[in-house]
């Protein structure tokens, strides 16, 4: 080791000389695309095939739900291919597992980026916030990163429905308009530290200001599975309702403890907060009595919407024994959103990563057959594509435990805007 520096200095010098001799700073002329038709093509596209990527979590905390999404996504694209594909090409999905580890996500993104036209999903908060800036530099479409408002800052990102802040603002509106919470009362917000929880809190605070209620905030982490202390604090503050931006475990615990303390108040959970298996826990009665769920995406049981019916049928065929839940319509609609962007890029004759991002930025009224609210607007960068959300009641009779009550767009959800 001791004599390494001299040797390495020498070799470094030699290589530098060689490198300088071979070095060039003028770019060769751009290569022509591989398409035989009039469409310009780029990364991930050949004459017969389009490759899209999916960075998901198959070995970490979200593994089970992510697996449902992978199955549904594969089934969706198989069906698209059977119907003739996109732009006359078959679509293949490159699925990689980042295990909820940002370092793995970044590395896998690097390996994937040269060979895909777009990423249908980068699952998880820390992972997607590590990948999004890189994808923005490369001008690559990224879908399915969840609903945190921070992702809206990236023009290459497509949010599947209303952002968390809009959901939370709607939750407050709904409590005042439909659930009998009076002006001047207090509303609790129990939220995960992070993008998701922080964005939800911002939306609830905005709505509270608009509607004249007080917010009692309680920050927790995913490790908090016993919410006794939080519930006591909320009961002490005499809250008239609770907005919960956490995970299913916390939903059950909070509902159970509040009810055991005699606090009979509505609890509205944000997007991924409900799981049908909660109805087997001791908190089931409390959930059935008081729990609601606000989602950006139509609940599984809303089969009146043709899109949801199609998604459910496809999943039932792909995996007859699979766990049903909100992941089924979600995966379907994420694939559908990407397909529309790919179609748009194809129509404008630019089937490249940049072309897909451009097509996304031009789509100002996207419909998804009832899977998401109609008329999603992705042309207004930095803002939620819609202010409409789905409100459901926890129900023992509905499939996947959620029965759709209504689609709502409350006044403070509509007046909410990011960055001002």
């Amino acid at each position: 080791m001791k004599h390494l520096p001299r040797a390495s200095a020498l070799s470094a010098a030699a290589v530098t000389l060689l490198a300088l001799a071979a070095c060039s700073t003028t770019a060769p002329s751009a290569e022509g695309g591989g398409g035989s038709d009039d469409v310009a093509t780029g990364n991930g596209v050949t004459d017969s095939e389009i490759t899209i990527g999916m960075l998901t979590d198959l070995s970490g905390p979200f593994a089970a739900g992510a697996a449902v999404q992978v199955t549904e996504t594969q089934a969706y694209w198989d069906q698209v291919n059977a119907d003739g594909g996109v732009c006359g090409r078959d679509v293949t999905v490159d699925v990689q597992d980042h295990g909820y580890d940002p370092q793995r996500a970044v590395t896998l993104y690097r390996s994937m980026a040269p060979d895909v036209i777009a990423l249908q999903q980068v699952l998880g908060g820390p992972t997607s916030s590590a990948v999004l800036p890189l994808a923005e530099q490369d001008d690559v479409y990224v879908g399915g990163v969840g609903w945190a408002g921070s992702a809206l800052a990236y023009p290459n990102n497509q949010l599947p429905g209303a952002s968390n802040a809009v959901q939370a603002a709607n939750a407050v509106d709904y409590m005042l308009d439909e659930l009998g919470v009076a002006e001047g009362s207090s509303i609790g917000v129990v939220y995960f530290a992070g993008d998701y929880g922080g964005d939800s809190l911002a939306g609830a605070e905005h709505a509270a200001e608009e509607r004249g209620v007080e917010i009692v905030a309680q920050e927790i982490t995913s490790q908090t599975t016993d919410l006794s202390a939080q519930a006591s604090a909320l009961a002490q503050a005499d809250v008239a309702g609770v907005v919960l931006a956490a995970a299913p475990t916390q939903f059950a615990s909070l509902a159970g403890v509040l009810s055991s303390q005699g606090a009979d108040v509505p609890i509205i959970g944000m997007n991924p907060t409900f799981n049908p298996s909660l109805l087997t826990t001791p908190a089931a009665d409390a959930l059935l009595a008081n729990a609601y769920s606000i989602t950006s995406i139509s609940p599984y049981a809303n089969t009146d919407a043709p899109g949801v019916q199609a998604a459910n049928d496809l999943y039932a065929e792909a995996d007859p024994d699979g766990a049903v839940g909100w992941e089924v319509p979600l995966a379907y609609v994420q694939a559908e959103l990407l397909k529309q962007a790919l179609d748009g890029a194809c129509e404008s004759g630019d089937l490249t990563p940049e072309g897909v991002v451009a097509a996304l930025g031009e789509s100002s009224s996207v419909d998804t057959e009832g899977l998401l609210p109609d008329g999603l607007d992705y042309s207004n960068a930095g803002q939620s594509p819609t202010t409409t959300v789905f409100i459901s009641k926890v129900s023992a009779d509905a499939d996947a435990g959620l029965e759709l009550l209504d689609q709502v767009s409350g006044p403070s959800a509509e007046s909410f805007s990011y960055g001002g």
Binding site: M1, K2, P5, S11, A19, L58, A63, D97
Partner: protein, 379 residues
Amino acid sequence: MSELPRKAGGAVLVLVALALPLVLSDFWLQTGLFVMAAAIGAVGLTLLVGVAGQLSLGHAAFAAIGAYVYAYTTGETTTSVTGLGLPPVLGLVLAVGVAALVGAAFSPVAGRLRGIYLGLATLGLVFVVRHLLVNLSDWTGGFTGRSVESFALGGFSFSNRDPDYLAVAGVEFEGLHRLWYLFLVLAVAACWLASNLRAGRTGRAWANVRDSETAAAAMGVGVAQVKASAFVVSSGYAGLAGAMLALAYGRVAPDVFGLTASVDFLVMIVLGGLGSVTGAVVGALFVTALPLVLAQYSSALPFLAAPGSGGLDPSTASRIVYGLAIIAVLVFLRGGLAGAARRLRQRTSTPAAPPAPRTPDDGDRPVAVTTPRSKETTR
């Protein structure tokens, strides 16, 4: 052992590392950046734990300080975060300096505690730093973190721009390629410095204090000062590793520097063999690259179930293989990977001779790890 093969081997390794960006894909380049950043952190930790005998589970906290100092000093002020906009070189120096200073500030605490107590107290440091990162959001960007200025040296940027196009022997050199060389220089320099420190006066003082504080004090070693110096050096290394990680990611967020990161550093140096600089580098390679490579290539293995089918899928299998690999190394290889390599070398070079006596030049051997410790210091 002869010096010549070792020297030649080192030169060949460096040459290979210099040439690699010509052939590697982005995946391997990115993996390489993470490995080199982790290696510097691990080398710093092995000086502290292996040589100076102070267990630390708080290495990620110092890495976080380095990363955020770099991001803050070089970043521009935006609507959400503030920054100083200093030149990147200065930012890198400050990252190391501030991390070392915080290490110095913590060393009186470290001086009061020993062994596993110190390890768990430093574990607390990880949580405290994380709490500060999340709450001081004007400087840090809070939970979502902030983006990191790319490194630049005299108008040459280690990113995809400035110059926008640069090719060597027909291969386009983008940000990843350029960072590779920056990291390689830093890594070689850090390893060289660590080897010299370890083999020199400082390293001997650290080892003396580790083996017996009483004896060291009797020999005129300033125990508190020596312990503090190990902490300062190690924190500086962590700070550099953190800044490099920030550069490799292009952004910093508190999640990157959690408990797992701290524990990973410890896994690296124990797997590699405590106190060995080469071991720390090999450990960093193992811990950082193995999960990435398994994630990338495990889907090619035929016997595994498809994701979502409920069987043993590739990703779960790769995680289990990673855990089993750690267990296997510790159960079967004495002295970790470096120890095994050393025995292999001795067996092949001097089959019949007893192990050669240690010379000051033999930089790879853990300093007196096998020396029996006196009773009073072990309990």
